[in-house]
């Protein structure tokens, strides 16, 4: 293992194949996500990028008939090993989805605290501090600090998505998975989320799925290009976008297909 914190191995897939019944949505993908970097997974719709992401925190297996072959290593432990509890795993890996998903019956505060409460009761003051920290990390604190007890549904779409980021980071996970987090946002909301990626990678290892290549270029350190379930090419983002090694990658990033 390399000594530097920036390249310390955290998360890796080894010959990972994800299936829906007999359909192989992700095919034999081996991919390393270096610690404290943003790795973008790009590719056309249906290429398996979201499925790959959902394999990392074992959300994939919740779909009926969905199975996984191969390994996902988190600190060299296969998360699909028999003695790994998927519920505990998911507390170490935060996730944000395409559409904002605030819990509609909970206040802003309770939404952020939702992931903290699964670990049992804690002193009120500690909880307050954690909620504030999470909201600050999601750059939402100043906008909501005076109405923490109001419904989360009163927030705008962009605010709701940042609330979901706050909820995901509140339990202090090690990894943050973003599944097209700006797909339903306007340009201003998108920009704020992208800025957050830059800030949050100091604290978390981030994997972001996006169909937007400009976004991948803006936010990520590494980019993986997938096509038809296969990992076509992976490399440093600036290299992959300026001098791709594979013909297919070049065709995609120059807009010739996809």
């Amino acid at each position: 293992m390399v000594a530097s914190a920036n390249t310390r191995l955290r998360l890796e897939t080894v010959r990972l194949t994800a299936l829906f019944g007999h359909h192989r949505a992700v095919r034999d993908v081996s991919l390393l996500f270096p610690a404290h970097t943003v790795t973008a997974i790009i590719g056309p719709s249906g290429c398996g990028k979201s499925t790959l992401l959902r394999c990392l925190n074992r959300m994939h297996e919740l779909t009926p008939d969905a199975t996984v072959v191969g390994e996902v290593l988190l600190d060299n432990v296969n998360v699909y090993a028999r003695d790994v509890n998927p519920i505990e795993l998911r507390r170490r890996i935060g996730m944000v989805f395409q559409q904002p998903t605030p819990f509609p019956t909970m206040s802003i505060y309770d939404n952020v605290a939702a992931g903290l409460r699964v670990n049992g009761k804690r002193p009120r003051r500690e909880m307050d501090e954690d909620v504030e920290r999470a909201l600050r990390q999601a750059a939402l604190w100043d906008e909501v600090k005076d109405r923490l007890r109001t419904s989360a549904l009163a927030l705008s779409g962009g605010q709701q998505q940042r609330l979901c980021i706050a909820r995901a980071v509140a339990p202090q996970p090690e990894i943050l998975l973003l599944d097209e987090p700006t797909a339903s946002l306007d340009p201003a909301g998108t920009q704020r989320i992208e800025e957050l990626c830059h800030l949050l990678k100091r604290l978390y290892t981030i994997v972001i799925v996006t169909h937007n290549m400009q976004q991948a270029a803006r936010v990520s350190d590494y980019t993986a290009f997938m096509y038809l379930g296969n990992l076509v090419e992976v490399g440093r983002t600036n290299e992959l976008f300026t001098k791709p090694k594979v013909e297919q990658t070049e065709a995609y990033i120059t807009g010739r297909f996809g």
């Binding site: 925190n57 959300m59 998911r90 989805f97 509609p104 019956t105 939702a114």
Partner: protein
């Protein structure tokens, strides 16, 4: 305006008028029933009606306090038995009921939903009244609960299914166990709808008579003992309306008005709950 546009507008107006008329006819039934009850029953409702038990046949005066309290007890106990089972069953059907067992439970619930209530009464008589050798309020409550359970299970299932799957995923991704997701996120989100379903179910069984004829039986005296026969408003109406005395008929109309009012209050509460909470389901 072209001829075609004119024709379209004409057809549109005609159809609108048609559905308005049909809606009015549907509402008319309620208005007629309610109006009739008020005309014939309201004059008999006084303080004694709510506070006194019936007097011997032929005498004037008396009230239906026993039946009002009895309705509250019988229906209340039915709700205590039926709501947890019905709502729990509905949660199971919606959240875990995709397999064979779920299919079976759903099928049985549908069959039970279509079973005439008098059959449920006979069943309760066979399995509770006959072995225990006594008619009782409790037997009546169990019969009503049996009617309520499939109704609540199916409405709860519908309400829980309305909760978007993205919320379940969000909770699971947060490290929620399946059961915690079901209770803390899914059930809470669907709560308004579930409560409404319960109130509608309770209102429906509150008016049932047939299953109580074989179980709670009826009682002309005031009682709070659930192991004794007990009067309810529906039984009271049945006995008084078919009896020979004018005084009885008068009380039957008044009882019907009170029962109708009770059901109306429950339904209005259901609507209010729906407005308050259910609007939050996205």
């Amino acid at each position: 305006m072209s001829a075609r546009a004119f024709r379209r507008q004409l057809v549109s107006r005609a159809m609108t008028a048609l559905v308005v008329v049909l809606s009015l006819i549907a509402v008319l039934a309620l208005v007629v029933i309610l109006g009739d009850l008020v005309v014939k029953g309201a004059s008999s409702i006084d303080w004694a009606f709510f506070t006194k038990s019936p007097v011997p046949a032929g005498q004037a005066g008396g009230g239906v306090a026993n039946a009002i309290v009895g309705t509250a007890i019988v229906v209340g106990m039915a709700a205590l038995i039926g709501v947890p089972i019905g709502v729990g069953g509905g949660m199971y059907l919606a959240e875990y009921g995709s397999g064979r067992l779920g299919f079976l439970v759903r099928f049985i619930a549908d069959v039970l939903n279509g079973t005439p209530s008098i059959v449920v009464g006979v069943v309760a008589w066979t399995f509770i009244v006959k072995p225990t050798h006594r008619f009782s309020a409790l037997a009546g409550s169990i019969a009503l609960a049996i009617l309520m359970i499939p109704m609540l299970a199916r409405t709860t299932e519908e309400m829980v299914r309305l909760v978007p799957n993205s919320l379940r995923e969000a909770a699971l991704a947060l490290g929620y166990a399946r059961w915690r997701t079901s209770i803390k996120v899914v059930a809470r989100t669907a709560l308004g709808g579930i409560v409404t379903g319960c109130l509608v179910g309770i209102a429906r069984v509150a008016g049932e008579t047939a299953p109580l004829l074989f179980t709670a039986l009826g009682n002309l005296n005031f009682t709070l003992s659930v192991t004794q026969p007990m009067q309810t408003l529906s039984l009271q109406i049945y006995v008084y309306a078919t009896g020979p005395f004018d005084e009885w008929h008068r009380l039957a109309w008044a009882s019907a008005l009170v029962l109708m009012g009770l059901v109306l209050v429950i339904s209005l509460t259901a609507r209010w709950v729906t407005r308050q909470r259910y609007g939050r389901v996205r």
